[in-house]
């Protein structure tokens, strides 16, 4: 950058030196400024006129917040006039000048340029964060910067009108700018919803800005279970549903809030099913167990809220079943598997056969699913050579054990 300025100054000097200016050799020559005006409005024409006794080698150095420039004069009846360039005239604030004659600064002064208050101002408005939580502590901040057409910020103490709307209330506040900005914290509300705000200054208003007030964390809620029958047939669906989950300000929690339904069965295993809420209600489903069971169900919005615990008891659907071995013991037929009304159970009940050798070592678990009430398992010779085996059969929570010998 410095180099750039250096080059500019050199260029200026070159361009100046081409003018045929006869130089007055006066060591203590001090040109007098003619105009006394020091306060201008941005955009106004500014010229600085000095009284001289003829032609002098004079330049003026202008300096404002943007930077510095050397300006050459124009002659006007033995006086020299410096016209301040437009970029210096547009920038509000202090503009310093130094008059340089024969390469020496001889006099200096300053101009005060004010923002152009008469023309239509512009507003820069920001509002954020865009979403906050209902309650008492959270807030969004509304910030406004008022500027004139040249992007000069209006001076400290400018009053800006802040408006905000929530439900039926519209509030208005006049905020005085400090350190170039006007700002206000718009506090959250206990009710969830949407806060709309805008700002206005003189005849200009900003566009509408929004912050969403999301509900706060959920509080204790209730759940219920819904099912067709209470038999453990492994094929019906049990549905868990919460009532409308609210936060402590009675807002319905935001859509999509995750609810974990934890099911504890009689074996102490924790099963789970999850659901996001819609209008505060989460409903999740899971299959009936395939054996007699007592379930304890509790739902959580983890860290925030817990439901009551409900229980669901499942009665045995399949009381017993037959197991038929083929002559060689290699083909096993399980069934018929009948349910609570003696109907054949729907296809797909899991039948597990754990195979142990005679010393009790687990060899393999075979899993089949029932078709039309029956399950078939074959013990192939390749994998289970002739010998003594111990079998544990498990279906619908009914365990049966057999010792058998496979030969052929």
């Amino acid at each position: 950058m410095n180099l750039k300025y250096f080059i500019l100054i050199i260029l200026f000097q070159l361009s100046c030196s081409r003018e045929q200016v006869s130089i007055t050799h006066a060591e203590n020559f001090r040109p007098q400024i003619i105009s006394n005006k020091t306060i201008y409005e941005a955009g106004e024409t500014i010229s600085l006129e000095f009284k001289t006794n003829g032609e002098v080698d004079a330049k003026i150095l202008l300096k404002n917040a943007y930077g510095s420039s050397l300006i050459a004069p124009e002659l006007n009846n033995n006086n020299i006039v410096f016209k301040v360039p437009v970029n210096y005239r547009k920038k509000a604030g202090i503009c310093n000048w130094v008059l340089i004659v024969n390469g020496k600064s001889v006099t200096k002064g300053e101009l005060q340029i004010l923002p152009k208050s008469k023309a239509k101002p512009t507003l820069e408005t920001y509002f954020g964060p865009r979403s906050i939580t209902a309650g008492i502590s959270d807030y969004s901040m509304l910030v406004c910067v008022t500027t004139d057409i040249y992007d000069n910020v209006f001076p400290e103490g400018t009053d800006v009108l802040f408006r905000s709307q929530f439900l039926n209330t519209i509030s208005e506040n006049t905020i005085t700018s400090k350190d170039l900005i006007s700002w206000k914290n718009i506090p959250t509300t206990k009710k969830a919803g949407r806060i709309l705000v805008n700002t206005s200054f003189k005849e200009v208003t900003s566009s509408e800005l929004t912050s969403i007030v999301f509900p706060s964390n959920a509080v204790k809620f209730m759940i219920k279970a819904d099912r067709n029958h209470n038999y453990a047939d492994g094929n019906q669906i049990i549905k868990f549903q919460t009532d409308v989950i609210l936060d402590k300000y009675k807002n319905i929690v935001s859509d999509g809030t995750m609810v974990n339904f934890i099911v504890e069965n009689t074996h102490g295993a924790l099963l789970n099913t999850v659901a996001p809420t819609i209008r505060g209600i989460a409903s999740a489903s899971i299959l009936h167990p395939s054996e007699k069971d007592d379930w304890k169900i509790t739902a959580y919005v983890t860290g925030a809220a817990k439901s009551n615990t409900i229980t669901a008891k499942f009665k045995t659907a399949i009381k017993d079943y037959e197991v038929i071995f083929s002559e060689s013991n290699r083909s096993i037929t399980i069934g018929p598997l009948t349910s609570f009304m003696q109907q054949l159970i729907p296809d797909g009940i899991l039948i597990q056969l754990e195979i142990y050798n005679k010393s009790g070592k687990h060899l393999e678990t075979k899993k089949v699913s029932s078709i039309k009430g029956f399950g078939h398992i074959n013990l192939e010779k390749e994998y289970h050579p002739n010998g003594d085996y111990h079998l544990k059969l498990k279906a619908a929570g009914i365990h049966k054990e057999f010792d058998l010998t496979l030969d052929e």
Binding site: T277, A284, G303, P346
Partner: protein, 1031 residues
């Protein structure tokens, strides 16, 4: 003999046929070749900025001074006339003309017989090696350089023999063009073509001394050599200078950026007897019909005049056999063997053999061989033999040129316009992109867009250690390169912000699961069917990107010299020729034309030997075909039927698979297809069969049992699975007996479900400016519930749990940094598979960050030979990590929020935890993933593990799993602290205080399953579901 001005009709015929045949067929083949589009991309670089060597499009920037530029610059220049492809095809056509004329001149000088040279030119048009190089490999620079090398050979010969400076100038001018086209050709050309050529020139000089070549003895030869010595030295020195100066920037770059790339496997280095496909492509096709006349070739090459060519030809032939014999490895040494693609040796050998083949054809058609055969076997046999050879030649031509059609080496042509448009819209090119499954067409995409990719298609120019340490050609086709491929891809997918990588264009759904589990999300499907994936929280590329400066004079040399060499060579060789013609001076016959031999008395023994040889070749061919038949005929043996069945399953040819099933089982094709169509999951949809082992037992004449051990490669993990089959033989064919399918039926025929879905507008205001601040959503707030640095099995990990505490769904990115006790940064990595990347409001997830090093960077030599995608290379840390920093970022997510999989049952057995998952929602889950958290008695997290399930879960169905809990008593918690944890740049503590001041920690504890494990007391299962086809 006629004067040289007479036009050779055979040559004209060859040129016409060559142009008609190759000139038209390149339009159907060239774009599908391996290399052509790469050269097109380089050309596009020069078309945009001729003098700038740095290209940002590939590999986060590379220099085009890593490849000789002539062909690229020519295409780039021609692209200004009619586009890049016009340039490419024009250069290809010029290459074809140069090749045919080059071969003609080469043959003319070798044999001194224009008739033979004409035959050679005609055979060159149909040479399978040329067809393969042009139409399958698309090696344009190589073809052009080789053709010019053939042109230069008579000039060098004449210089050496006559010492006239005009020949030196013309030969050097052509050498310069060769050098700027392709650097390998002149270097190896010197060894294999020009050395024997010089030898032959000396030999001919010697022969002139004694009048007959047969009388040349070593002494005469030495005398002649002394005479030619300085000519050879002058030529050699000048060529060396040209090789160095013409592509000086190339050498400068090679010195400055030595190739650090680890060797990339290439088919030409295979053992052709083991890998028959490589044998076909790199041996059988290039040799083609020449294989049958090998004895004749060697007989002629080892005649005294051609002796040096004979030695060179032998060397080339041996080197071209790749890994079949250990000789090439020993000759070239380990390094050169692994860098060079050995197919070029075969190419040169077959080109070198062309004049002798031409001579053979001449003698067979109208020479002494014809008469000899007439005499020995009669006229009919001669005709049959001629017909057979011609037929064989045409068969090879047809086979070679259609190979790319029947066995495409590239994915189907992709319409690039939608991708190009996508990249130029909405500042999408402010990030890097990555194409997946594009094949070599990725180069064509790069040539058309300003956007940059981390991948690239010229591996010698790579700079990222993530790529140079992997033996992969491109990340884009990483699935074909096994562990290195997928491993390399995973690094880019896990830490995309390191490369400003935001968009992935997927043309292969194989990669979908890995993208999902690395935290990418589907953005949209373009109209050409390409799926666009995006990653949130990736910063755009900086305005100014780093580049390597090269001295200005090198860039200017690079820009000017290549085309100048062409202009110079043109002026010298063609203009002089024209001038000569204009002066109407009768041209003097070139020196070598006087040395033609008269073809008479074709040796009888040679005919017999060659016949025997041809019969041996034919027998090997038939034997090969027979073995192929026996191995591949599906139902010939129990082994075959199982192999074929799994092959069919692997390639998703279900009708074929069904044809191997027991016809007596009454499983109709409809039923079978139906059963196949309803199975989904990583095994059936995303797996490639890697290896198969078949153990047969109980084999009788009519039945057998098979235990099939399969290894499947999936984008996520390697899966081993054993299957058992019963086989039967019915009517001389073996079949597989069918098995019963799971008979489970879902409870409801029709059911309803309400879901919460989300939509994010992105920009509401349509503007090219920066997104309006009102349209920027707040980043969802996350809270880190726990974080620990642990050491398990010698590997450092950061584990923890976090929750989305905001009211909108969040996409989660977790970045962890390790420090030593002096706060020196040791390693940075992101969470990969061990986290649910998408969280609903108030949902929690465990996470684990593993610190992966750049795989095998230190153990190059012991690279595992087999494929294992989930192979993990722990980072090598010099110092002990003591502290860590965790940066998490949330971004609003609105896709992949399916959470409807329930844990239906759990059972604790001695051999693991058996569980059942149940899909209660309305989307089919393709790959369910279990995230398993381990806790101690105080409910403190100790470890996080994961398990992918091999089968998907259909709607309202169950899926069984078995999980074997780990023994984690050796785990060591190094640090447990939330102090240096940040969310969206804010300290985690401030979030805890503000958003969740009254957290109930009991809730989490109540969701943990008590379990008496080794080293832990509680365990928890989280489920993450990948949906392959969201509805």
């Amino acid at each position: 003999m006629k004067t040289i001005q007479n036009t050779n009709t055979l040559l004209i015929l060859a040129l016409i046929i060559g142009l008609a045949f190759h000139g038209t067929s390149i339009f159907f083949t060239l774009e599908y070749t391996y290399d052509a589009l790469i050269h097109l991309f380089f050309a596009s670089h020069y078309a945009i900025d001729w003098f700038e060597p740095w290209d940002y499009h590939w590999y986060t920037g590379f220099t085009v001074q890593s490849y000789p530029p002539l062909i690229h610059q020519t295409i780039g220049l021609l692209s200004k006339v009619g586009g890049l492809k016009f340039g490419m095809f024009t250069v290809a056509i010029v290459g074809i003309l140069l090749f045919i004329t080059g071969v003609y001149r080469f043959a003319a000088f070798m044999t001194g017989n224009r008739r033979v040279a004409g035959y050679t030119a005609l055979l060159a048009v149909f040479s399978s090696t040329f067809i393969e190089t042009l139409h399958i490999f698309g090696q344009l620079p190589s073809i052009c350089a080789l053709s010019i090398l053939l042109h230069v050979m008579p000039e060098i010969y004449l210089w050496t023999k006559t010492g006239k400076y005009k020949f030196l100038v013309s030969s050097l001018s052509l050498i310069a063009v060769t050098v700027t086209s392709h650097h390998v050709t002149p270097i190896f050309g010197m060894v294999f073509f020009i050395f024997p050529l010089l030898g032959m020139a000396v030999m001919d000089s010697a022969a002139e001394q004694v009048n007959n070549i047969k009388d040349v003895r070593f002494k005469t030869f030495y005398k002649a050599f002394k005479k030619c010595f300085w000519r050879i030295v002058i030529f050699g020195g000048a060529s060396l200078v040209l090789i160095i100066t013409c592509i000086l920037p190339y050498w400068y770059n090679s010195k400055k950026n030595p190739i650090t790339q680890v060797p990339i496997p290439h088919g030409s280095r295979d053992n052709f007897l083991e890998v028959t496909s490589s044998g076909l492509v790199f041996f059988v096709i290039p040799w083609g019909i020449l294989l049958f006349i090998l004895p004749y070739l060697f007989y002629r090459f080892y005649s005294k005049r051609y002796m040096f060519f004979g030695m060179s030809f032998t060397m080339l032939t041996i080197l071209g056999t790749g890994g079949t014999t250990p000789i090439p490895l020993k000759l070239l040494g380990e390094t050169a063997f692994n860098i060079l693609t050995l197919d070029r040796f075969t190419l040169w050998a077959t080109i070198m053999a062309l004049p002798i083949f031409g001579e053979f054809a001449y003698r067979l058609v109208e020479g002494d061989l014809k008469e000899r055969i007439h005499g020995m076997f009669g006229r009919l046999y001669h005709r049959i033999l001629g017909g057979t050879i011609a037929g064989g030649l045409l068969l090879m031509v047809g086979f070679t040129i259609t190979l790319g059609y029947f066995r495409p080496s590239q994915p189907a042509q992709i319409k690039m316009l939608p991708i190009v448009n996508f990249l130029s819209q909405d500042s999408h090119d402010s990030w890097r992109y990555l194409p997946l499954g594009f094949g070599d067409q990725m180069a064509w995409l790069s040539a058309q867009t300003m956007a940059m990719t981390v991948d690239g298609n010229y591996h010698s120019a790579r700079r990222l250690p993530e790529l140079t340490t992997r033996a992969i050609e491109r990340i884009e086709n990483s699935k074909f390169r096994g562990v290195e491929g997928i491993g390399s891809l995973q690094q880019f997918l896990t830490v995309p912000e390191k490369y400003n990588l935001k968009y992935i264009f997927s043309n292969d759904k194989f990669y979908d699961p890995i993208l999902y589990f690395c935290g990418w999300q589907r953005l949209q499907q373009l109209e050409n069917g390409i799926m666009v994936w995006e990653k949130l929280n990736v910063p755009p590329l900086p305005e100014i990107l780093p580049k390597e400066q090269t001295p200005l004079f090198l860039n200017i040399l690079w820009g000017f010299i290549p085309l100048s060499t062409v202009v110079f060579a043109f002026a010298i060789n063609i203009m002089m020729l024209w001038l000569k013609k204009l002066k109407l001076r009768k041209g003097e016959l070139p020196n070598f034309m006087k040395l033609s031999v008269s073809y008479s008395h074709f040796p009888k023994n040679l005919i017999i030997i060659n016949h025997v040889w041809a019969i041996i070749v034919l027998c090997s061919l038939f034997f090969g075909l027979y073995t192929f038949y026996v191995k591949n005929t599906a139902q010939l043996s129990p082994n075959n039927v199982v192999q074929s069945y799994y092959d069919a399953i692997d390639f998703k040819e279900f009708e074929r698979a069904h044809s191997y099933l027991d016809p007596n089982a009454n499983l109709s094709i409809d039923q079978y297809m139906l059963e196949v169509s309803v199975t989904d999951g990583i095994l059936s949809s995303y797996a490639k069969l890697d290896s198969i082992g078949i153990e047969l037992s109980d084999v009788t004449n009519l039945s057998a049992k098979a235990k099939v051990s399969t290894q499947w490669i999936t984008p996520l993990e390697k899966i081993s699975k054993n299957y058992f089959h019963e086989l039967v033989k019915i009517a001389n064919k073996w079949y597989i007996k069918t098995k019963k399918k799971d008979s489970d039926i879902p409870p409801d025929q029709l059911f309803t479900e309400n879901t919460t879905t989300f939509y994010n507008h992105g920009r509401r205001k349509i503007t090219t400016q920066q997104t309006h601040h009102e349209d920027v959503l707040k980043q969802p707030v996350l809270e880190i519930l726990s974080a620990k640095l642990v050491k398990y099995n010698g590997q450092y990990s950061i584990i923890g749990e976090l929750q989305n505490v905001d009211d909108v769904p969040a996409d989660v990115v977790i970045k962890a940094t390790l420090y030593n006790d002096l706060n020196k940064e040791l390693a940075v990595y992101n969470a990969k598979f061990h986290v649910k990347h998408k969280l609903m409001p108030k949902e929690t997830t465990p996470f684990k960050v593993n610190f992966e090093g750049i795989a095998w960077s230190s153990t190059k030599d012991t690279m595992p030979p087999t494929f294992n995608p989930d192979e993990f290379t722990p980072i090598a840390l010099d110092e002990q990590p003591i502290k860590f920093n965790l940066q998490t970022a949330g971004n609003v997510a609105n896709t992949d929020l399916y959470k409807r999989v329930a844990l239906q049952n759990l059972e604790f057995t001695n051999y693991g935890i058996n569980g059942v998952l149940y899909n209660s929602g309305i989307q089919e889950v393709t790959i369910p993933q279990l995230l398993i958290s381990y806790y101690n008695e105080e409910h403190e997290l100790l470890w996080v593990d994961h398990q992918f399930m091999t089968e998907g879960i259909r709607v309202q169905r169950k899926q069984f799993f078995t999980y074997l809990p780990l023994e984690i008593d050796c785990i060591k918690v190094i640090e447990s602290s939330l102090e240096n944890c940040y969310v969206n740049g804010l300290p985690n503590a401030s979030i805890t205080k503000k958003v969740f001041p009254n957290r109930e920690y009991e809730h989490s504890h109540a969701q943990e399953q008590q379990y008496n494990g080794t080293g832990f007391s509680f365990i928890k299962f989280d489920i993450n579901s990948y949906i392959g086809n969201p509805k």
